[in-house]
């Protein structure tokens, strides 16, 4: 974000890691390998209670999407909501960004993780979101 280096930035969610090499992280069950983006008390797959911190791959494939034309106030429409599957087999929900025409979104298209500033609060803190752009 070249012109915004002076502003403090926070990630929109805790599982988005900012810095020089932005990426997603997941809580990975040490017993079965199932991944979670939120805090879990036990693994929903196997019941294990041990979790380690894992990096999620950046490259992904578009598995399902919807072009949303009617959204909550303040959300620019249309936008492309997507379920992608990363190269390491993790499903992620986010928007497909960087398409000139949302109708060009295509099932199976290859996409790549990216970040962008999605808002600024009253203290001038910027919120950084992530999305997936055509690879």
């Amino acid at each position: 974000m070249p012109d915004e280096t002076s502003a403090e930035q926070v990630p929109i969610v805790g599982y988005l890691q900012l810095g020089d090499d932005p990426h997603l992280r997941a809580n990975e069950c040490t017993a079965c390998g199932a991944r979670y983006f939120d805090r879990r008390n036990a693994c929903a797959k196997c019941g294990g209670t041990g979790f380690s911190d894992a990096r999620v791959a950046d490259a992904a494939v578009l598995k399902a999407y919807s072009i949303v034309h009617n959204a909550a106030p303040g959300i620019p429409v249309p936008y492309v909501s997507a379920i992608v599957e990363t190269e390491d087999g993790t499903s992620v929900r986010s928007n497909v960004v960087g398409l000139d025409d949302p109708m060009t979104a295509e099932l199976g298209m290859r996409v790549e993780f990216t970040t962008y500033v999605c808002g600024t609060d009253d203290d001038g803190t910027e919120c950084v979101a992530f999305g997936y752009a055509p690879a």
Binding site: V10, P11, I12, V13, G14, Y15, A34, Y36, F37, D38, R39, A44, K45, K63, A64, Y65, S66, I67, V68, H69, N70, A71, A72, P73, G74, I75, P78, Y79, S81, A82, I83, E85, G89, T90, S91, V92, R93, S94, N95, P102, M103, L107, G108, C118, G119, D121, D122, D123, T125, C127, A129, F130
Partner: protein
């Protein structure tokens, strides 16, 4: 548990519509009193009341009892997303199966008016980013990290199916809505009773592609109620009541088992497949035996995937199934001859009771213009996100 079957003795639903002059107690009372009349019984015959609603305040069942008869029986207030009504039926069913009750009343009701649920929640005016919740989110993520709107979530269920299977696209989804709007023209209880062309459906405003406005269920008001009875008690009822009674061959409730993608996109498939397998096994019937199906078409994209989940078509064949005309009322397995949620309406708590009412009415041969002739076996399915799936298989009295 008793091996004796549980039967539907009485059933009724209000027309689904908007009733600004009534409240939810009025609607539920009307459905209950009419279900009593239909079954030739009254509140003093009931051993249990299960009342389903998503949006009414706590204690709705007890307040309803003040309107229809305060007899001191156990009252269960039931909330289970869009499976609320089916769950209320199952509560009464289980009480009879357990031998605690001979007769039970299950009612579902909702008064939603024009809730405007298509766009999603308005966000607060909070303008200071602070991490909160289990994701440490600093703001609402809806619309930024994908969609949380219902038309969008179910659109993704549909496009996810299209990714895995051939022959599914915008037109196949639109045909589902075409069929259900067409079916609703024969149902005087439907909120809307208007036919639309495929072109009108595909050309109506896009909510969340591929779901256009005419492919989304409306919000609305309504209630439905059923009186359930044990087989033993039924045998002491008048002959006419026995003839009209409908057997519950299976009553199943499932939740969503873990799947890899479940944490980011609700899986509406696996729990429906599991429920269907259990229901067919319990009832001793297969999809090929079904004369009609009422399934949870909250959006056109949802109905299509449930053809597959319920085994109505070959695995992966939902696109061909709608293209072949099979789920139309004159097709191989009529689906949503009531008009479905898309046109009959979806007052959430009432939905899972209303589809049992619909099947019951056909099995009795009392469905009027929309009657599926000679119907003997039917299946009612609902699914609520979170998730909960309820399936009931009903059979005509021998």
């Amino acid at each position: 548990m008793s091996g004796d079957a549980v039967w539907v003795l009485g059933a009724n639903m209000t027309r689904f519509a908007r009733y600004p002059e009534l409240d939810a107690l009025d609607l539920a009372s009307q459905a209950c009193l009419d279900a009593f009349a239909d079954g030739g019984v009254g509140i003093h015959d009931m051993d249990i009341l299960a009342a389903g609603t998503l949006f009414q305040p706590n204690g709705f069942g007890q307040r309803l009892q003040k309107q229809i008869g305060q007899t001191g029986i156990p009252v269960y207030n039931v909330t289970n997303a869009c499976a609320t009504g089916a769950t209320a039926i199952r509560v009464a069913y289980l009480s009879i199966k357990a031998g605690e009750a001979e007769m039970g009343l299950a009612v579902g009701v909702e008064q939603m008016g024009k809730m405007g649920l298509l766009a999603g929640k308005s966000r607060s005016e909070r303008k200071v980013y602070e991490a909160s919740g289990r994701y440490d989110a600093v703001t609402s993520i809806d619309g930024i990290l994908g969609t949380e709107t219902m038309p969008g979530v179910f659109a993704q269920a549909g496009t996810g199916y299209a990714y895995e299977n051939d022959g599914v696209g915008f037109e196949q989804f639109a045909k589902v809505a075409y069929k259900n709007h067409l079916h609703s023209t024969l149902n005087p209880l439907a909120q809307y009773q208007k036919e639309f062309s495929l072109e009108q459906i595909m050309g109506s405003p896009v909510q969340s592609y591929p779901n256009t406005t005419l492919m989304c269920c409306p919000t609305g008001d309504g209630a439905a109620a059923v009186v359930l009875i044990s087989g033993e008690r039924l045998r002491s009822m008048p002959e006419e009541a026995q003839r009209r009674a409908v057997k519950i061959s299976a009553s199943v409730l499932t939740s969503d088992p873990w799947v890899e993608s479940g944490q980011v996109q609700p899986d509406v498939n696996t729990l429906t497949r599991n429920a269907a397998a259990q229901a067919y096994e319990t009832a001793g019937v297969g999809p090929e035996d079904l004369d009609l199906v009422e399934l949870h078409d909250c959006f056109a994209t949802a109905e299509l995937v449930h053809y597959d989940n319920l085994g109505l078509c070959e695995r992966g064949g939902a696109g061909d199934f709608i293209d072949s005309g099979a789920p139309f009322r004159d097709g191989r397995i009529p689906v949503n001859v009531s008009g479905g949620l898309i046109s009959k309406g979806h007052p959430i708590g009432a939905t899972g009771v209303a589809n049992v009412y619909e099947i019951t009415t056909h099995l009795r041969g009392e469905a009027g213009d929309r009657q599926i002739e000679g119907a003997k076996v039917g299946l009612a399915h609902v699914i609520g996100l979170g998730s909960a799936c309820g399936i009931h298989i009903l059979e005509k009295a021998a």
